[in-house]
Amino acid sequence: MSVRCWNRAGWPVLMLLCWLGSHLSAHAEGLLDQVSQQLARHSVVHADFVQTRQMAALKKPLQLSGQLVVSRAHGVIWRIDKPYRLTYVLLPKGVQEILPDGRRRERTAQDIPGVGSIESLFKGLLLADPLVLQQHFDVVAEGAPTAWVLRLTPKKGPLQRGLQAANMSGGEQVAQVVLQERSGDSTTIQFLHTEVRDPLTAEEARLLGVDG
């Protein structure tokens, strides 16, 4: 069940790590606090992403691109634009999948056992809680707040089954995430044009289920 949850939760975890990575450096407590305080000012972050997936089963790597919106108070939107449309909305109560034809598919906690741990991870991260990150990973941080690398190794738990290691790097914002899977496949995500943009647009608010 953990690998399945990893499948479904893969992107959400990713997003959360990105969001977190852009704001936290987990090695030194002082640094962590600094960054999380710095973060507290921003409630909405936008970024473009390019994701490259290298799989043994594929002849050549698969590339996806899209947009990411992170709202500290309400949730996360992960929208794949190319080569196909697929949107994921992460909310505290669960994950929503929006298909190309507009249909929504709920993936609540009941539907995906093990998501619970991802949910608390999500919430903890959303609350900028460094402890939550450390709860799920062994963290090794290198560098300085302006140019850092986080090496994350999952602790014993549902994440560990699929994921071998994760590396995050960036400066003021996160630049790149690399996920190494146990099967040998890897996924690299690069973030471009990261902006801090308060408040949410009407469209984003609707997706996140926020009342105007």
């Binding site: 399945r4 499948n7 893969g10 002849k59 996924t187």
Partner: protein, 779 residues
């Protein structure tokens, strides 16, 4: 007389001999209430199913450990788990799960994936195979992570098996896996779930005691660290019921005994009489326990509780003898006295037996045992008075005691004199007016909760655990029947669909059914063909376009074209995955295939009833309401029984007193019953089977008073009066104490007795209002 004494001693020795094998052990008391309840004779299959399910549920202890801090919760839970593992009371402990466990569980099931499809995928592949497969593939490729459950990505590129597993019923409900523990989070607290099957019977008294102590110890440890421990399991309920009954029994027994001691000493002024009364009770109880154990092998809890009130009745016979001794003064002759009062106490015994005997006619094992126990005890006491006592009461009574007789007698005379003619009618009318309107307020309540009433604390813990874990009870379940395995699975699938809609509406939190794991053969064939078709025509191309290696595509298609492994119930039951649902399969018997479906926590039973009614072959089994139904039926039978007993008593009495007198003697009791019903109505006591039983007892005991008074007309009036007075007092005390029980059923029984016997005593002297005047006798 010597022969009789010897016979009596022999009886006692026989009883002791019968008890010999049980000495040194705790008394074999049956605390399983289900054991005393009537079987559902109409459906033996239901009984068997229930027994199997109850056995599995009853033999498990469930613990939930919580703390606001997750790490501390883990630590506490780990500590609890260690101690549980060390305990010899538990067979194994399900606590923290190693991650690989889950994978190993699912992998063997994955072998059948060519024939399994989730409902969403079935629909998608039927309507728009190309679009649906494309969506699945995109999602699969887009998300990092290999195939689930040890499957290589290449073995399931579309992720169909993932979908199948995610649609499987989750009896876990709101539970999640966190760091190896089954967890629920609520209101800032982290709860960890542990469960352990018992090493032994949940109704074994020794196990109950030790386990309760263990759980209490664990709870204290958790609370010492600001955590909480909740526990539930049939064993805890049974232990509590047992302890409650024992406490009550001790209380009732002790108070009765003390009251009897005080009365006996106060009235008869000799310790000897007290000891002899004790001997009568002890002998009666000894015979009762021995006989019951001989015949039944065990005593039921309820028998003990009801039997404890036997004390009050058993003492009546010896009291009569002592009262007679008091009246005879220095002209005391045991044999002559015995001959004189023998008819009275024999009649008393027979009428009481007729009252208890009615219980034996009901097909209610628990009541039958009570009837047997009480009858044996009374006969034992009776024989003790007749054969055992005479040796010990050869001397006349204490002089100091005699003066009591005359005042008592005078009061009685005055009262019975007053209670005649117009004043009698007036009193009866007054009582009628005061009590009969209470009839309008009478309500029945046959619910089984009248009999089995766990403490609020245990109920609260059970409820909390159910809230946190979403696991329901096994008291209600669906029984499915069909004439073949395929038909049974198809029926199961239809039921699942109905239950799914209840889950969607929030009425039901989930369910456990084999049909969720094993689709009917027809469905499997359909799904396999559908999958083959979809992959052959559309899937292959999609995979190639996405850039999947040719070797992998060919491998997958070839795999699908092989004849698949079909999943049948036997194959599934052999998988370790089936452990939580194995007990639901009953297999075939006499050509009928059966299985059970257990609902999780639900809001309203009526929805489940509707579902069952809409599907032929599906029955909702609800032991509690079935028993409540039985209770109602027995209550109605008991009412008829009462009328018959009354009739029998009148017939019995008419043999000695003639018809008219017999009817008159029965009048006080009959009137008492009417008035008592009224008072019960005013008090708000619900009428149920146990109140009806109480009335049967009132009949048996109450009519004794009229008989004693009647007999007293001809011989030793004052002695008879004293005997009646003392009898009434001791009976009121012992039954009246039952009115303080925590169990509503027993309380109702006690109140009925208290009021019924009270009225019987009050009205007994009215038999003197008619017929020849009492012969004057020198006191």
């Amino acid at each position: 007389m010597n022969k009789k004494f010897v016979a009596w001693v022999a009886m006692l020795l026989l009883s002791l001999a019968a008890l010999w094998p049980y000495l040194g052990q705790p008394l074999p008391v049956q605390t399983n209430v289900l054991a005393m309840l009537p079987d559902d004779a109409r459906q033996p299959a239901v009984e068997q199913a229930l027994a199997q399910l109850a056995a599995r549920a009853g033999e498990r202890l469930v613990l939930v450990v919580g703390h606001p801090d997750a790490d501390t919760a883990n630590r506490l839970a780990a500590g609890v788990e260690t101690q549980l593992r060390q305990s010899p009371l538990l067979k194994s402990v399900q606590g923290r799960v190693q991650d690989w466990d889950v994978e190993q569980l699912i992998l063997p099931y994955a072998r059948y994936r060519p024939v399994l499809l989730s409902p969403d995928d079935r629909q998608g592949l039927q309507r728009q195979p190309a679009e649906h497969l494309q969506y699945l593939l995109q999602r699969r490729l887009g998300l990092p992570g290999a195939g689930g459950f040890g499957l290589a990505w290449a073995d399931d590129p579309f992720g169909l098996f993932d979908q199948v597993v995610s649609h499987l019923p989750h009896a876990m409900g709101s539970l999640q896996w966190q760091q190896g523990w089954l967890t629920a989070s609520r209101a800032g607290w982290h709860w960890r779930l542990l469960s352990a099957p018992l090493q032994g019977d949940a109704y074994d008294p020794a196990l109950q005691q030790d386990l309760t102590r263990l759980v209490d110890g664990l709870r204290q440890q958790a609370e010492a660290q600001d955590g909480q421990l909740l526990a539930t399991g049939a064993v805890l309920f049974a232990a509590e019921a047992r302890q409650q009954a024992e406490t009550e029994m001790n209380l009732i027994g002790t108070v009765s005994l003390v009251a009897v001691v005080v009365l006996m000493l106060g009235v008869f002024r000799r310790v000897r009489h007290l000891l002899l009364s004790g001997m009568v009770i002890a002998a009666g109880t000894l015979v009762a326990v021995a006989a019951t154990l001989l015949v039944y092998g065990q005593l039921h809890l309820l028998t003990l509780v009801m039997g404890a009130s036997l004390i009050g009745v058993a003492i009546d016979y010896s009291t009569h003898l002592f009262a007679s001794q008091l009246q005879d003064g220095d002209h005391w002759d045991v044999q002559r006295a015995l001959e004189a009062i023998h008819p009275a106490i024999r009649m008393g015994l027979l009428t009481t037996l007729l009252g208890y005997g009615a219980l034996a006619l009901l097909t209610f094992p628990g009541l039958r045992q009570i009837a047997f126990f009480s009858s044996a005890g009374l006969i034992g006491s009776y024989l003790t008075v007749l054969w055992g006592l005479p040796v010990f009461v050869r001397q006349p009574s204490a002089r100091s005691a005699r003066p009591l007789l005359v005042p008592v007698g005078r009061v009685f005379d005055a009262y019975s004199h007053w209670l005649r003619g117009r004043r009698l009618i007036g009193l009866l009318l007054l009582l009628a007016v005061c009590t009969l309107p209470g009839w309008t307020r009478l309500q029945t309540d046959d619910d089984i909760r009248q009999l089995i009433k766990p403490s609020d604390d245990l109920l609260r813990q059970e409820q909390q655990i159910r809230d946190l874990t979403g696991q329901g009870n096994s008291r209600q379940f669906f029984l499915l029947e069909a004439d073949s395995e395929a038909a049974l699975l198809a029926l199961g699938q239809r039921l699942n669909q109905q239950l799914d809609s209840l889950v969607d509406r929030g009425e039901l939190q989930g369910y456990q059914s084999l049909a969720s794991w094993v689709p009917p053969p027809g469905q499997q064939r359909h799904d396999h063909a559908l999958l083959q078709q979809a992959v052959q025509t559309e899937g292959q191309a999609l995979l190639r376009d996405a850039g999947v290696r040719d070797g992998i595509v060919t491998h997958y298609v070839t795999q699908l074209n092989q004849p698949p492994a079909w999943l049948d119930v036997d194959a599934f039951l052999a998988l370790p995955l089936s452990t939580p649902v194995r007990h639901l399969w009953f297999g075939a018997e006499a050509g009928v295939w059966r299985m059970a479906v257990v609902p999780g926590a639900f809001r309203s039973l009526s929805h489940l009833h509707e579902v069952a009614q809409g599907l032929p072959g599906v029955t909702l089994v609800d032991k509690a309401s079935a028993v409540s139904d039985s209770f109602r039926q027995f209550r109605e039978s008991a009412s008829v029984m009462f009328a018959l007993s009354l009739l029998a008593v009148v017939v019995l009495m008419s043999r000695r007193y003639g018809w008219r007198r017999a009817l008159l003697l029965a009048a006080p009791v009959a009137l008492s019953v009417l008035f008592t019903l009224g008072v019960l109505g005013w008090l708000g006591v619900r009428v149920n089977l146990f109140v009806a039983l109480g009335f049967l007892m009132v009949l048996g005991v109450g009519v004794d008073y009229a008989i004693f008074v009647e007999e007293g007309r001809h011989h030793q009036r004052y002695a008879a009066v004293l005997a009646v007075g003392l009898s009434a007092l001791t009976t009121l005390l012992s039954f009246g104490l039952l009115a303080m029980s925590a169990t509503p059923a027993v309380r109702g029984f006690g109140l009925t007795q208290l009021i019924g016997v009270g009225f019987s005593v009050l009205l007994a002297p009215m038999v003197l209002a008619w017929g020849h005047g009492p012969k004057e006798q020198a006191p």
